[in-house]
Amino acid sequence: MRYLPLTPDDRTAMLAAIGAKSIDDLFVDVPESARLAGTVDLPRVAGELEVERALSAMAAKNATAGAVPFFCGAGAYKHHVPATVDHVIQRSEFLTSYTPYQPEIAQGTLQYLYEFQTQVANLTGMPVANASLYDGSTAMAEGVLMATRVTRRNKAVISGGVHPHYVKATETVVHAVGVETQVLAPAFDAEAAVIDQIGPDTACVVVQTPNVFGTATDVTKIAEAAHAAGALLIVVVTEAVSMGLLKSPGEMGADIVAAEGQSIGNALNFGGPYVGLFATREKLLRQTPGRYCGETVDADGRRGFVLTLSTREQHIRRDKATSNICTNSGLCTLAFTIHMSLLGETGLRKLALLNHEKAVATRDALAAIPGVEILTPRFFNEFAVRLPKNAAEVVDTLAGHHVLAGVPYSRLAPDAGMDDVLLVAATETTLDADIQILAKSLSKVLGA
């Protein structure tokens, strides 16, 4: 038990100092019948080597993204993360610190949160951003709830281009408090369809760009329509790198941006931990969920940073709080902010262009295969194709040939009747050779 520093002698001496005869004396408040006499039925203490072997054996059973031609996206993207990022986030002072409740000895965390908030605000084109939420999908749910608080209306109109899992995660939470959702049918390029659905009871319109099929849309007109009806526009972004190339949500009139920040600095991690980006307009600030870091001065007049605006939060307002959130994705924001600092504007734009370029090359290769139809008109680094066969079956077959060809749309929405649709993503990590292998093996499987 290498993590436990007390020796048997320590324990004896400490019990004596407490005035207890045995450790059981300290558990007297536990009802007799609920005390476990022995140990539970689990393996006993294991050395470092043993644990490492057991977990490595499990890890070895998975096909890693870096080892094969890889084209999966749909809300999680494989990007190259500079070695510096992971090194820095593993520094003890970052990794093993807690929420910065004592700002005088947490300036490291607080300053990077402040830098993160600025980067996210600039990236999304919004005036303010918080210190992060759990992930993009929970950020969308919080955004919808916030819109209902702000507008005192009860309905969210959600575009059919929003990631089905984001929709589901949002509906699960907002239905509990009686907020209605109207989700439009999936369509490859139909964000504008939401405009006709806006009514006097609409709290917000939710659109995603690039959407789940990869389509990039200028949502300016949707923003105008929403605002004219007194509703808010929530823009969801699942691929943060896209904002390095495309018009920002703020520029297009968004009131709330709920985005997934995993792409910058964070690994795929089988779905988490990720980092939810949440940005909004200044006048809505006090209705927002989550944490903020703010600038202030210390007793000597030097600039410093603190967590602030806590009057919105659960520990002050309890059942009146704007949300029950009590954490953020601190370490993931650090990874994001380091990677973003290394990229800078020049690097981010270049990275975004490289992503786009690889996706265009992938599209061109697939478009040349007889029977494959490209469905997405304008995209960033991901697009949808229609196959002449069931997409999930094709993906499974290709996985058997060590090619991870993408995400079948039916995996996200089994009842949508789009079993032949495949979502294909490429990033800067995609090699030209990978594209060739994908095209070749897909042709083979399709018998083209």
């Binding site: 820095v88 980067q119 990236l123 699960t172 600038e295 001065v297 030097r302 029950n324 504007e345 690097g347």
Partner: protein, 522 residues
């Protein structure tokens, strides 16, 4: 008793105390660190990327034209910036971090190594199931450990933090009442006054009205008050056990019996599970749902405020309502059930886009396996022993909020002992910083005046506890001796002096913007 080790370690006997201001206004190696936006990084990048062949022209007017406002740092500049920032942070690897009810314990680096195995970190949440069998096996194994340790039949892994777990538990309860047609009349959730603020916030979030339950003189749920408020309009009670006063709810069996008799469910806030792991199974106490903060009990790092992970264990009655996704296994291997409609369950929905915090599952399982069943039992014993040791050694100078009987994982003091000194809990906390310690949790729980909540955890040695206790005793004596200046102006020996939190809240400055008249971007 002095535990300060001065023997054999000569220090300057007449240390110079006068401090001439430095020429640059810094403090030795602790220099002020400019924001990345204040340097010359506009246009710079620290990442080598190939030149793109295109310019995104096929995207037409969708292309962003204006500057974004993101400075870049070369790699050495970035390294120095963040390492300098890191040096302004306290962390568990530096010294005890006794935040009661939050808790930082040692974060083993084996956990980090395991989470970074490419087989776990470099896999996509939507890869074909056949290519992630090991990941699903890990989730299934973690679930098995959690179910066995809690004596509960089911677990929902996906909640992304403790408060998210509360949400999950209450939604499962709500779904169960809906399924039995009782939801319309069961609209209340009972929450003791001592509860963590997320409890009432969560209940309200799920659409319930919150009714407070009184607390007894000895810091426990007032069972008579609970019984009086229980009825067929109550959906659930939320009780933290061990509670936030650091005490085990002695009447827990009575509480669960009364709750079930009234047709309500028993939600247990499992934030403090580290105090009883391996010694008490919440399932044996009649709990229906309980979240487990993996960072707290199973040592996943909290990295300055997350990520967390809050798996929820569920009783037989609530198990069918667990959210998607979940793992099942049969002869064909592991499968991931991704929709609530599948497998004849009545899942209340989905809580997040993917499978939850896989990176935290890996770390937690690594920690659990390292300890084993016997070690985890020892974890609870040492956590409780350490807390009681601190309580015993400080109780003559400071006033324990609940002096009678043992505490569990944390020792709670009030500010009664500071009466007449003009020193507040906050002042005392800031003076602790000068002595090299992270302060305890202040002013929480709210039911105790000027609360000071100290939680050492099981990973502190006796020597470190003695060092902490000695400093606390010296501080307490100084407070009582009227050494007010030491407290009022504290901290003096920290990267920053006391920060003006009121100013930050009154006129929020939440991002950097270019000084007026400058031509910097953004």
């Amino acid at each position: 008793m002095s535990t300060m080790n001065t023997v054999g370690r000569p220090t300057a006997p007449n240390a110079v105390t006068a401090k001439p201001a430095t020429l640059t206004g810094g403090r030795g190696l602790l220099q002020d660190e400019a924001l990345i936006f204040e340097g010359d990084g506009w246009g710079k990048t620290g990442v080598d990327l190939p030149e793109p062949k295109t310019n995104g022209s096929d995207l037409g007017d969708l292309v962003r034209k204006d500057p974004i406002g993101l400075p870049g740092l070369s790699e050495p500049e970035a390294m120095r910036h963040y390492v300098r920032l890191s040096q302004k942070n306290h962390a568990i690897d530096l010294a005890i971090y006794p935040l009661g009810s939050c808790t930082m314990k040692h974060n083993p680096r084996l956990n980090e190594k395991m989470a970074r195995l490419p087989g776990f970190s470099d896999i996509h949440p939507l890869q074909p199931i056949s290519t992630v069998q090991g990941a699903l096996e890990l989730m299934d194994t973690l679930a098995h450990w959690l179910k066995t340790l809690t004596g509960m039949p089911a677990v929902a892994l996906s909640p992304k933090a403790g408060a998210h777990g509360e949400l999950c538990g209450l939604m499962a309860i709500r779904a169960a009442h809906e399924a039995s047609g009782q939801h319309e009349k069961r609209r209340k959730v009972l929450v003791p006054t001592s509860a963590h603020g997320t409890n009432p916030a969560t209940a309200a979030f799920v659409g319930y009205s919150v009714v407070e339950v009184a607390q007894t003189e000895d810091g426990r749920v007032d069972v008579a008050d609970l019984a009086a408020k229980l009825g067929d309009d109550v959906a659930a009670i939320m009780v933290t056990n061990p509670n936030t006063c650091g005490l085990f709810e002695r009447d827990i069996l009575e509480i669960s019996r009364l709750t079930h008799e009234a047709g309500a469910y028993f939600y247990c806030d499992g934030a403090n599970f580290n105090a009883i792991v391996g010694r008490v199974r919440p399932g044996d106490l009649g709990v229906d749902a309980m979240h487990i903060n993996l960072h707290k009990t199973f040592s996943t790092p909290h990295g300055g405020g997350g990520p967390g992970a809050g798996p929820v264990v569920l009783s037989e009655a609530l198990a069918p309502f667990a959210p998607a996704p979940w793992v099942v296994h049969d002869d064909g291997g592991y499968r991931l059930i991704e929709r609530e409609e599948d497998e004849a369950q009545q899942a209340f929905g989905r809580l997040c886009a993917f499978q939850g915090q896989m990176g935290m599952y890996t770390r937690a399982l690594s920690y659990m396996m390292s300890h084993g069943s016997d070690g985890l039992r020892q974890v609870a014993e040492d956590a409780v022993l350490n807390a009681n040791y601190i309580k015993a050694r400080l109780s003559d100078l400071m006033s324990a909020a609940f002096p009678d009987g043992p505490c569990m994982h944390e020792a709670l003091f009030d500010d009664e002992w500071l009466k007449g000194t003009d020193i507040t809990t906050l002042d005392f906390a800031k003076a602790m910083i000068d002595e090299g310690f992270h302060p305890m949790t202040m002013y929480f729980p709210l039911v105790v005046h000027g609360a000071m909540l100290i939680e050492p955890t099981e990973t502190e040695s006796k020597a470190e506890l003695d060092r902490f206790i000695e400093a606390m005793r010296l501080l307490a004596q100084a407070a009582k001796a009227g050494d007010v200046d030491r407290f009022k102006g504290a901290p003096f020996h920290a990267p920053m002096r006391r920060l003006d939190e009121t100013r930050a809240a009154r006129s929020p400055v939440l991002r950097w913007s270019a000084p007026e008249g400058s031509n910097q971007a953004a």
